[in-house]
Point group: C2
């Protein structure tokens, strides 16, 4: 058991929120993270291109002997999960199904909002997944292309970001949804502003939080989680980085990204010298 | 003479402003345009990655027999022009030198502002080029990472865009520059908002407008321009697309980009069926 590592890929930086959850909830696992920073973003690109890049990322991880693939990018999960699952002989876990399941079970009004990249929204992947849980749920979607660059610019709690959020989200707020899926791994960074526009009665679902449980189901031999061991809740904010065995995580990027290095150092205490650069073709 | 075509590449959409100028001012030339829409943007990425992508784009164009390379992207011009000029046996024209020369000659206060992507500003390519014309000119630079996504979102004359422009540009406006170089081919789309923040006494320099003259100098055998033939000025806005021989232009993209197709149809009257998709590796 636990012979191979868990491979996680993302178009770049956003997947760090998934990695954070994975490290916290599956502390006995070795992990390899690949951020395709040379070709980001995926969310503005076509299905064909996102599938092509996802296959290459997965091939890189499989060459490193991973026993499971986690697609930490919503766009790649929406467009490439089937292609990956067909092609590779390991379990493939995306972020759409876990987030959709949580939203479908949480809504009381049977109205769920979904925000994401243009590609994710166009794919209707969340809508399909939510309605496969309960077919009567109405799903309202909105693409928010400026949220990623605003988050990367660091304008987190900011009047301009609030203005952009109002423009994107007010139609959703008016539609009466009581759950909003943050369907892009960057969006939790803007949670405060999003919550301010949506109001206190709308639950924000961060798909990243649901991923470790899904991985555990996909890997029956997976050791019990940190939560299971000592019964504490899943809030990882206070988890000291020092508790992690550094050899248990390898990080690869396809391009040097100062933004990634800054976030990974701040959130996960990964020093820049632990990051390797690769060309996955 | 005039055996090969002129090859033009850009990270994607912005280079259409350069292509427009080229078609208008060098109507006797065949042109091949390559937009690397699968890997855009370049402006957030490292020098190594931008050079690698630029070399691949150039190789693709050289395989198509071009006699001259036009680098229509400011970031690629700033980071990769030397690498391209060393590697390939044809003249290589970027957008930095023409824009820098115009700005250096136009400033009366000897103070020039430059705005561009993070990578362009970090490279200091405009500063070097401007000061090589006149070493006493002071150059004030600012990166404006949100301008490209705002332009792509179509928020052109918009309160939010005005707020972003104020935040980026007010320090430049206060520094007393009388010329501002729009050092990214997307920025002319936001000219109205930029002019409003900078005020009526600041000349905005669009590097794209200066490129055809530079190409003519690089290709002595190049036929006289449209302007030369009938003496009219270089304003191409009214140039009917029908006047162009369609076989004289080939457009390749590395990914389907609805935004490119919409802009190229609207600005240059290129029908979507005239665009081919390629993988330049």
């Amino acid at each position: 058991m636990n012979e191979g590592a868990i491979g996680i890929f993302d178009s770049g930086v956003g997947g760090l929120t998934v990695l954070k959850q994975m490290l916290a909830h599956l502390p006995g696992e070795r992990m390899i993270y690949l951020g395709d920073t040379a070709r980001l973003p995926y969310g503005t690109k076509s299905r064909e291109t996102v599938v092509r890049y996802s296959l290459r990322n997965a091939e890189f991880l499989l060459e490193h002997g991973v026993k499971c693939l986690v697609v930490a990018c919503n766009t790649a999960s929406a467009l490439a999960l089937d292609a990956l699952a067909c092609r590779f002989p390991v379990p493939v876990v995306g972020v759409i199904a876990p987030g959709a399941a949580k939203a479908a079970l949480a809504t009381r009004r049977q109205r769920v909002g979904v925000i994401g990249t243009v590609a994710t929204v166009r794919s209707r992947a969340y809508e399909t997944a939510i309605r496969s849980v309960r077919g009567t749920i109405e799903v309202y979607s909105a693409a928010c292309p400026l949220f990623v660059p605003l988050a990367e610019e660091g304008w987190i709690e900011d009047d301009i970001t609030l203005g952009v959020a109002r423009r994107y989200l007010e139609p959703l707020a008016r539609s009466g949804v009581d759950v909003l899926v943050l369907g892009c791994t960057h969006y939790p960074l803007l949670k405060t502003v999003i919550a301010r526009v949506m109001g206190p009665n709308v639950l924000l679902v961060d798909s990243a939080e649901e991923v470790p449980a899904q991985v555990r189901r996909a890997l029956p031999e997976c050791p019990r989680s940190f939560d299971d061991v000592d019964g504490r809740q899943g809030d990882t904010a206070g988890l000291p980085g020092g508790r992690r065995d550094r050899t248990a995580l390898r990080v690869y990027l396809t391009d040097c990204s100062p933004h990634f290095l800054e976030l990974s150092r701040r959130i996960l205490e990964i020093p820049p010298e632990d990051v390797e650069y690769v060309d996955v073709g």
